[in-house]
Symmetry: C2
Subunit: 441 residues, 2 copies
Amino acid sequence: MKTVGVAVVGFGTVGTGVVQLLLEDGDRLAHATGCRLVLRHVCDVDLERPRDVEVPKNLLTDDLERILSDDGTQIAVETVGGTGAAVDIMKRLLAAGKDVVTANKAALAERGRELFEAARRAGRSISFEASCAAGIPVIRAIRDGLIANRITSLMGILNGTSNFVLTEMSATGEGYAEALTQAQAKGYAEPDPTLDVSGEDARHKLAILAGLAFGAEVRIEDVYVEGIEGIDSSDILYGKQLGYVLKLLAIGRCADGALSLRVHPTFVPAGSALATVGGANNAVLVTGDAVGDTFYVGPGAGRMPTASSIVADIVDAALGRARTTFEHVAWLAGRCEAATMRPIQDVQTRYYLRFDVVDRPGVLADIAGVLGEHAISIASVLQHESPNPESVPLVISTHLAREGNVAAAMEEIQHLPTVTGRSVRIRMLEGPEAGEGEAVG
Amino acid sequence: MKTVGVAVVGFGTVGTGVVQLLLEDGDRLAHATGCRLVLRHVCDVDLERPRDVEVPKNLLTDDLERILSDDGTQIAVETVGGTGAAVDIMKRLLAAGKDVVTANKAALAERGRELFEAARRAGRSISFEASCAAGIPVIRAIRDGLIANRITSLMGILNGTSNFVLTEMSATGEGYAEALTQAQAKGYAEPDPTLDVSGEDARHKLAILAGLAFGAEVRIEDVYVEGIEGIDSSDILYGKQLGYVLKLLAIGRCADGALSLRVHPTFVPAGSALATVGGANNAVLVTGDAVGDTFYVGPGAGRMPTASSIVADIVDAALGRARTTFEHVAWLAGRCEAATMRPIQDVQTRYYLRFDVVDRPGVLADIAGVLGEHAISIASVLQHESPNPESVPLVISTHLAREGNVAAAMEEIQHLPTVTGRSVRIRMLEGPEAGEGEAVG
């Protein structure tokens, strides 16, 4: 039986999961794959910290050189994270002839081009199933399983922390701060949750998935992003009354040769597949011209789900499939051109708008007038009760409208003397009407 | 750029879809994969029938020999179907050195062992992504993406026709016959729907998925099967009142070293992920020890979804990945032992029971008495109204009970003088309690 040596660089939460699977499930993996994976090194700057897995002392090292110079190590897992040292480490591993497996979405999204070039120069591969949706094998699905399709739309709930917070706010009526505290208490949010709640993490993941799905070289700056920090629980409630559920959605669409990529809070229809994805789960809805809609759900974070995908990539590399894939898939092989992007101002979608207004005649007419001037057509109007007649929430949903027009109209409305508070704009998803592809289910 | 020759054997619905993708999307596929797929032959016994795709005359043939003897054809797609001629054709193609791609679940489930042996003898591969869930790349997910997991449970809605009929019955209250006529009118059911509604098609698919998921050699006779032909719309209604949706579910579970495989109508909780899968869609819920629950949904039938997966397999074969996979994955490589099966009598699940009884005192006590004697514990009792006091529907749901005990109790109850009609038994799924793995969502 073929034997392949593996090193794990970065002995944190995810690294521990990978080490655990390799040490404890070695025999089962060998039977399942016809290939024996041998853990040869576990490298970290801090070897003292206690871990949940017992590693033979002689495998532990704080010296990357030991891995680089070991001809018996063919595959290296990078779980250091970040866009600094981790990128350096991956390049050195590739140059030393190792196939690399990583879950590092930030590095791939921001410095993927140079990493892929380094891999090609070295004749090695980078695999990253765990980078976008942890345990859900959605990279394989898009990259290999749907290769016969022109992908027209990709929509994902790609950040478990944000989804947990929004699910909690929706279920309990809690405010953002309380829900975030809950998420932190339950281990679903980091002490500093910025990367998650700002949408930045989902943005990285969308950039990666878009590279594969649309076969285009995407710059991270081209992905529009809004987080969930500003979300008011009253809007979740009003949306619910309209039949919608709020999600932090990553949306990629390709139409008329232009690509639009955006991450922002989005109302999705309560009956749709995406609406059913609760808690810290992730989900991706991919629409292809041949297959139609396919939908993938599963755990989007956590030690063992992430390790599950990393070990799958190790097997791919061990069998030689990873290198074949890397040499052939357009984005990985460097055959993609820079994407033609549709500016966010030109994106069309439906909108949920809330204005806090003075409760007196003519207010709606004023606002409707401004919307009409900007070619924004109203679908529904709901005026909610308020104890304060100087600040009554007026909720308007629109038909398809151009983002640039809505921004301009909002700016103008904000200056009306009858509008008293901060105005809110949340995008709405409506299957066919929004041209977003019909949800499965 | 690498060029690979492809032949399509069987120019029916699915074959037409494959030919269409190869002829019309050749340039895009070449860009996406770095490999040019050249259609060299389309073989069918009937070349006169009109098709929706234009094929150059010189590619058409009714002579398989032309393909067998063509060294320029490396990959052959079999879309003939069935377990007779198709198996012969595949063996001849393999012996002639072609990698085979097929969607033929019947052949794989009933004669997979000899087909795989033929492939191994020839040093070639058989790929079959399209065989189990058409367009959903669930074979890749289980075979490669979840390889690091011990799969404990696999549950699938694997037959689009049955799911369409049950969804229709549930939505409209229609009887089975009317709903089936609807399905036929809309093209979701064949003129002879036996294979679909009997559960046989789902049984084939479960046997294949089980081979990959549980790494066990499964004989088709070991898969228990019940179809939807006997389903009464009143049971769908009563189930709905209890908070359940009826699905034809394929269930594979591995526990304590024994495998249970069964296909039967099953009540699933209305809020669960499986319950949301309507119409002709397919879905698979896979639970692994590392990853937890992952869930896959998409079109389970149709020309282009099926062709989507077949072309993905062609690409896999063209790049050489298919052969690597075939040589290594336990089931394909012939390294699996015969599965230790848990007899259906020993399976434990919850039950929905309906008895038509005479409306008089003591009836419930009699029935409850028999259930108690067979160690079957009652969870709820609902007596429904009926215009006929000689035949009142009594619906009982049970806690976990042994199948063999329930069968024996039903037999005994059927002989009670107060029981007037045919008794009904439908299995119920309840996440953690039934030990079936918790549904995603």
